[in-house]
Subunit: 256 residues, 2 copies
């Protein structure tokens, strides 16, 4: 249902109903926005897209860019009122306490729909999938490597993969599916330290990723850690062979 308003009170009535009935509400109107909570911001008058979702999530988008300029997550409660020639939308969230106030002026365009969407969303190639492929194919890292546990808890933290090399040394493995940077190295270092502390034995630490930054390389050296480059496409092909026709999408991707 689409409506366009110049009259504030008519707009108010329609917006209230749309939000109360938990419809997806898309508004295009000139507005100002104030926010305070974890941070604080002020946005002066301009035309924006305001998207209010069925669970109360609210996003305010300027005409460009990926990110909303202001927003409130789904936990917030939304109130609409009118006064002084504007519509005031107040979205409040507790824990953390955050308040967002948008003041809309005419012309106010509103598109309001109940959306039906229970479809499945499948994501391939996330980190856990890469990890599981390595778990099944430790030979891609090195010969004789035996992986005995995934998400092994070491000092309250969980290491992606844990096992022993051909000489029986414990090995901690941190897997990244994107270029590994200093942060990734530090994460591995933390696991190695925890393991050393709790077992008394210094393990090998291997960072596994398709690439690494220059800084990561230096830090690896400094901290006595190792790096093993993996080709994600090859890993996916290994997996695709396993499922053998079970997942055409993965096969398709691996050809790209």
């Amino acid at each position: 249902m689409y409506r366009e308003f110049v009259d504030i009170n008519e707009a108010l009535k329609f917006l209230k109903e749309s939000i109360d009935l938990k419809r997806v509400t898309v508004i295009i109107a000139p507005c100002t926005v104030e926010y305070y909570g974890r941070g604080s911001s002020s946005l002066s008058l301009g035309e924006r897209v305001i998207l209010i979702k069925q669970d109360g999530a609210l996003l305010i988008h300027r005409p460009t860019g990926y990110q909303p300029v202001n927003w409130q997550p789904a936990t917030s409660s939304i109130e609409v009122k009118s006064g002084r020639g504007v519509i005031e939308i107040t979205a409040v969230r507790n824990d953390p306490r955050e308040v967002l106030v948008a003041k809309l002026s005419p012309p106010i365009k509103v598109l309001s729909c109940k959306l039906i969407d229970s479809a499945g969303f499948t994501k391939y190639l996330d980190e856990s999938e890469v990890r599981d492929i390595i778990l099944e194919h430790p030979e891609v890292l090195e010969d004789g490597l035996r992986i005995v546990e995934k998400e092994k808890v070491v000092g309250g933290l969980s290491v992606d993969l844990f096992g022993y090399d051909k000489n029986g040394n414990p090995v901690l493995i941190e897997v990244k599916r994107v270029r590994a940077d200093r942060e990734a190295v530090l994460q591995l270092f933390k696991y190695v330290e925890e393991y050393k502390k709790s077992s008394g034995v210094k393990p090998r630490g291997i960072l596994v990723a398709p690439e690494r930054s220059r800084g990561a390389l230096e830090l690896l050296k400094e901290l006595g850690l190792e790096f093993k480059k993996v080709d994600l496409r090859k890993l996916w092909r290994l997996k695709a062979e396993e499922v053998e026709g079970g997942s055409r999408s993965i096969l398709e991707f691996s050809r790209k």
Copy 2:
């Protein structure tokens, strides 16, 4: 301008025009979405909001939640075509190479507007602001602390604040405006290590934040680092006194 389409070709014509003229285009329609690039995903049929912005940013939102289920940043080029009873929107981005294909079926609702928004956006209380207040008021951390540099470069990294304590020991300070976790401690640790390496002297490392996680506390102890809790409101009040009426918004916030 709002239109609703059952006929594919009419919808195609309108959408093409809207996107070519670089209007903000809001579409509500049943659709499927395929994506591959850094990752890969598949979303089956359901009703969604598709937002195409004036710079080519594209977001596909399901009826709930803050995040878009699929998207393409502003760097992408967008093509629209029709066939087999659907409208196909293809958004391609290079570097990294990523492809998103959305297939829309009727009824297709489209709201198309050129938005004018050159307004200023002001953000208060970001990390750099907190850092600068501490720079001006080192006494909030400890007596006799002398801060001599901000964003000091140590081994290619830049430390938030650098100075000397009353005994002349070098001090590296990492500032967080949210609860500090293990990541923050590791970041500070990295600076301390770099400083030690390049100067041969072990500096004190102080993590400054309004709160810290339990894990952060443990890691601080292990790595021989310190923590100093700060009250953000007090800091802002210090700043507000300085500017003395210059920024009412900050004062307002500090009362909240």
